[in-house]
Symmetry: C2
Subunit: 356 residues, 2 copies
């Protein structure tokens, strides 16, 4: 039978990738119990939301299973107390710029864009993220709308992101989506971010380079209206696999959305499809469905741009209520899952190459 | 009785302020008829939309009435042919930068802002402009939403602005509102303006310094979403008399609009009041009125910010239709005239001092 010491030596080979030291010297191994048929290991993590939890557990299991005579390893997780964490962090160096980006493992980056404001980019971002997450994928949302962020409110997030040795750790939504938004860093949610373009674009670059996303299957980037700094920075500095365009039925909106489509095409990013929001509504009094913004031009627009129409979302007071209450993850739209199938099917494996 | 020559000499004292030369040498005086009780003068202007028409006519009348024996002067206006105009322009020097700004006489500049996109800034701008114009005031609209301009489409404008010797001459709407927008300068209305902040802000400065607005009682500035370059430039570089804030009933929108309000307050520009758009709708089937975006938070918001709620605009499919057809000037909302009364009453005489 193995001794606890033998196991301790094996565990010295497991590093916390965020802190850059082995888990034994970091004081993370709290208990090692050798039973007849199994070895039970209790780890105390700095936070249970650590993006590397899965990786650490896997490495612990592998290290112990490599020892002769082990057949079964069970890992239990606890969280350090605030004072333990503080003590630990004192000995750790400050993060260097752009450190996170080399440790992040993000498989696909998809932007959500419109050109026009107020058509529902954040709603679409949250809906796609939620659906992907329901399918068991690891999902993050980067809120790139620096001066008008909606994501934290829609998802009911107010917690301040923790700053770790590698970078800023995104906040987790109720269902487990990793979120980074400027509004999580402000003292009050309605504080204005009065920044000129270079600063705003710099924030987006930091959300990519200095946020410790860990391993993600999908990172969705919620973009602001317009075709200026932020969309330019997202398309030039991030490896994008594609962009979802959001529009509304008004001809006026579609003109501005076509501008965005032309920008995306000029910058050679694939457009995955078009989603129309506020397509129709249902009167709560008589139950009749009608097109509140007039006859939709979306099919013609999709044809003109040569991209598929992925979904039409109604103007539903339930959406407003869920968004205002921070519970947008609870919203389910019949048929929306098909739109996400189409996105998954259409998203290319290869991303664009960032220019700088 | 006066001779035509005597009158010709008198008219040499009248200058075209735009071209900087007297109207006789410019070939603008086409006919002088001396009748028994009146003198009839026919002038050919470069364009009947010349912002100085009124001033030239007044000076012509004054110059001739100053001659002994004149009691009645009648001025008729025609327009030069394109080839005449071209010939005339060949002899005129190109405009120098910032020349227009010294000749413009703009009494009040009022910004329309929201922070949030898609809440109806352009609609409010057009409605306020139309109402002011109906009252006989001279009104202009500067569309400062460079990357997502809506004003030309709403007003049905596609004509390219003429470039005169003093600067760019705004296009006139059907009812006579002077309009300048980047979309009037693009080849196709859905061409994207992919510019970084400094360029976008530069365009706004040009719309102020190099556009020949002439004499206006009110210039309304339709601002883009956000609290970045354009709002900053408008508030720092233009002499503003006040700002109208636009919001929608959603709590999510009001959070972003509060950001804008805080920006305006920090930059010490007076807020004239709040206008809520999409407050309610009426079902076309059963005629019931209901709050489609849920219970409005606008009164609480107005109180919190200490500003009056000026108006509530419904989500009316008629507005969408008129906007899409370019006929928004035809829209009339009961009670909106009171909102404009309040704006006129609240707008301070003194504007902010531009910082650079």
């Amino acid at each position: 039978m193995l001794s606890e010491d033998q196991i301790g030596v094996a565990l010295r080979n497991v590093q916390d990738p965020e802190l850059g030291r082995d888990i034994v010297s970091l004081g993370m191994v709290r208990k090692v119990e050798v039973r007849e048929r199994a070895i039970l290991i209790t780890l105390a993590l700095t936070t249970l939301e650590c993006p590397f939890t899965e990786q650490i557990v896997e490495e612990v299991r592998a290290a112990v299973l490599a020892l002769d005579g082990t057949t079964h390893v069970q890992v239990e997780l606890t969280e350090m107390s605030p004072s333990e964490r503080e003590h630990l962090m004192e000995g750790i160096s400050k993060p260097t710029e752009g450190k996170a980006v080399h440790l992040n493992r993000i498989s696909r980056v998809v932007g959500v864009m419109s050109g026009k404001g107020g058509v529902g980019k954040s709603l679409v971002t949250a809906m796609v993220a939620t659906e992907l997450h329901r399918r068991g994928l690891r999902v993050g949302i980067m809120d790139a709308d620096i001066t008008g962020p909606s994501i934290p409110k829609m998802l009911g997030l107010t917690e301040r992101p923790r700053s770790g040795p590698i970078g800023i750790v995104p906040v987790r939504s109720r269902t487990g989506i990793a979120v980074m938004s400027i509004n999580l860093l402000l003292e009050r949610e309605d504080d204005a971010v009065i920044w000129r373009g270079p600063l705003v674009a710099g924030a987006v670059k930091q959300f990519w380079g200095d946020v410790f996303w860990g391993t993600l299957d999908y990172l969705l980037v919620d973009m602001p209206p317009g075709t200026s700094d932020v969309p330019l920075t997202v398309m030039q500095s991030l490896p994008l696999n594609g962009i979802i365009l959001v529009t509304s039925p008004q001809d006026l909106a579609s003109m501005v959305v076509r501008k965005a489509a032309h920008m995306v095409t000029q910058l050679e990013v694939p457009i995955l499809g078009l989603i129309e929001n506020m397509s129709y509504t249902v009167c709560p009094h008589c139950g009749q469905q009608y097109e509140i913004f007039g006859k939709s031009h979306v099919l013609g627009m999709a044809m003109l741009l040569g991209i598929p129409l992925l979904a039409q979302i109604p103007l539903d007071p339930a959406i407003t209520a869920l968004a205002d209450e921070g519970c947008i993850e609870d919203y389910r739209l019949e048929g929306f899952s098909k739109a996400v199938d189409e996105i998954l099917w259409r998203v290319p494996e290869k991303a664009t190459t960032p220019k700088f």
